[in-house]
Subunit: 201 residues, 2 copies
DNA sequence: ACACAAAGAGAACCAAGGGAGAACATAGCA
DNA sequence: TGCTATGTTCTCCCTTGGTTCTCTTTGTGT
């Protein structure tokens, strides 16, 4: 898991320990006063770091107040197995996530989850039907990364990404399929591939 | 590695014994104060010596705080990583096995070990150069299993096996290679493939 | 006495952490 | 429609911490 800086740890500890002192989730201003900060902007930077570490709930549109993430990541619990991903269908979620033990080396610095691959669209990159992939939550990627991308808000797919100013191309690794081109607005990156696990019978 | 000087041993002992006193890894300045030093530069020299002795984690880019090198995973907690296997060469053993954390699901019922694959001979089965494979120790296999086979007592290779009464065929999964045929006596099975781990950068 | 290694002080440099504050965006409200 | 509270983004700046020097002191072996 990513290393929090000292200040970030202090702020998280404060939120955790004083959650009950507030009858509503504290705003940036209130937190600033409590922590002795004079600038909302400074606090905001730290809160963003806590969000990307998965310790604080991301701000929903129009949401007020900073609240802790419902289920802080338990190191001992492992990585959540969320469901299956097939090219072009929404992620098929398992009703209640199981937690898997995954080698640390396969994890990124941000929170991660595991999906099971369904289909052969990445077979030429050695990703087979039934493999489990470790995905690091992330909303941007470098060209050439393999990503979980949500297209038009509903169809999730695992593909190699190529981003140009005008369009986003999702490349399968399967000669019988063709690359898909979209407008940047249509494609939302949900994570990048960090590791792969395969079980042989 | 070179012998530690007396002061270096003292500093290492201090780090080891007081690791729990700090909620963050101590900085050079903090350590200086704790050790009665007035200069970061002096301490830095000692810490560098400890790093090159492998007792302290090397500083990653931008990392802050001095932390002890992670103690290797205890044998009972992981699977030994024994070395690299390339088609047709003996297994290249690492001098001293590291132990890796491997998901239980990838293990068999018998003792297992991990090898790193070297080469593309199984690429069409989705086993790429650099992948790590989990091998269950075993001296026999079913036809179609992928096995670690020792040929003529020296050349180890990872291939799909086909056993007939008169001969043993080792099939690569690479169109540019051909299957190898041997007498049953020439081939000794050293384990069967149970799992695969791949790390993406 | 001399050479040498270990150890420390301190200065200088650079990158990352952290904070201040302005400016902007958006929601809720009078 | 403005006003206020709040979240967001930005730039500027200072501080902190790791690194690299040089110089000095001290202890030890020949």
């Amino acid at each position: 898991m990513s290393q929090l800086t000292r200040r970030q740890q202090e702020i998280y500890a404060y939120l955790r320990d004083h959650a009950d002192d507030f009858d509503h989730p504290p705003t940036h201003d209130e937190l600033c006063r409590a922590l002795g900060l004079a600038s909302r902007g400074s606090l905001h930077k730290h809160v963003q770091a806590l969000i990307s570490a998965g310790l604080v709930e991301p701000m929903a549109r129009g949401q007020r107040g900073i609240r802790l993430a419902a289920s802080p990541v338990e190191p001992e619990a492992g990585i959540p197995f969320l469901g299956r991903i097939a090219a072009g269908r929404p992620i098929e979620a398992v009703p209640q996530p199981e937690y898997m033990q995954v080698p640390d080396e396969l994890l990124g610095s941000k929170p991660c989850y595991v999906l099971q691959v369904c289909g052969d669209s990445m077979i030429e990159d050695g990703i087979l039907d039934g493999d489990r992939v470790v995905i690091e939550q992330c909303d941007r990627a470098d060209n050439g990364d393999i990503v979980v991308a949500l297209v038009d808000g509903e169809a999730a797919t695992l593909k190699r990404i190529e981003q140009t100013p005008g369009q986003v191309i999702l490349h399968p690794a399967n000669a019988s399929m063709t690359a898909q081109r979209y407008l940047p607005d249509q494609v939302q990156i949900q994570g990048v591939l960090k590791g792969l696990l395969r079980k042989y019978p």
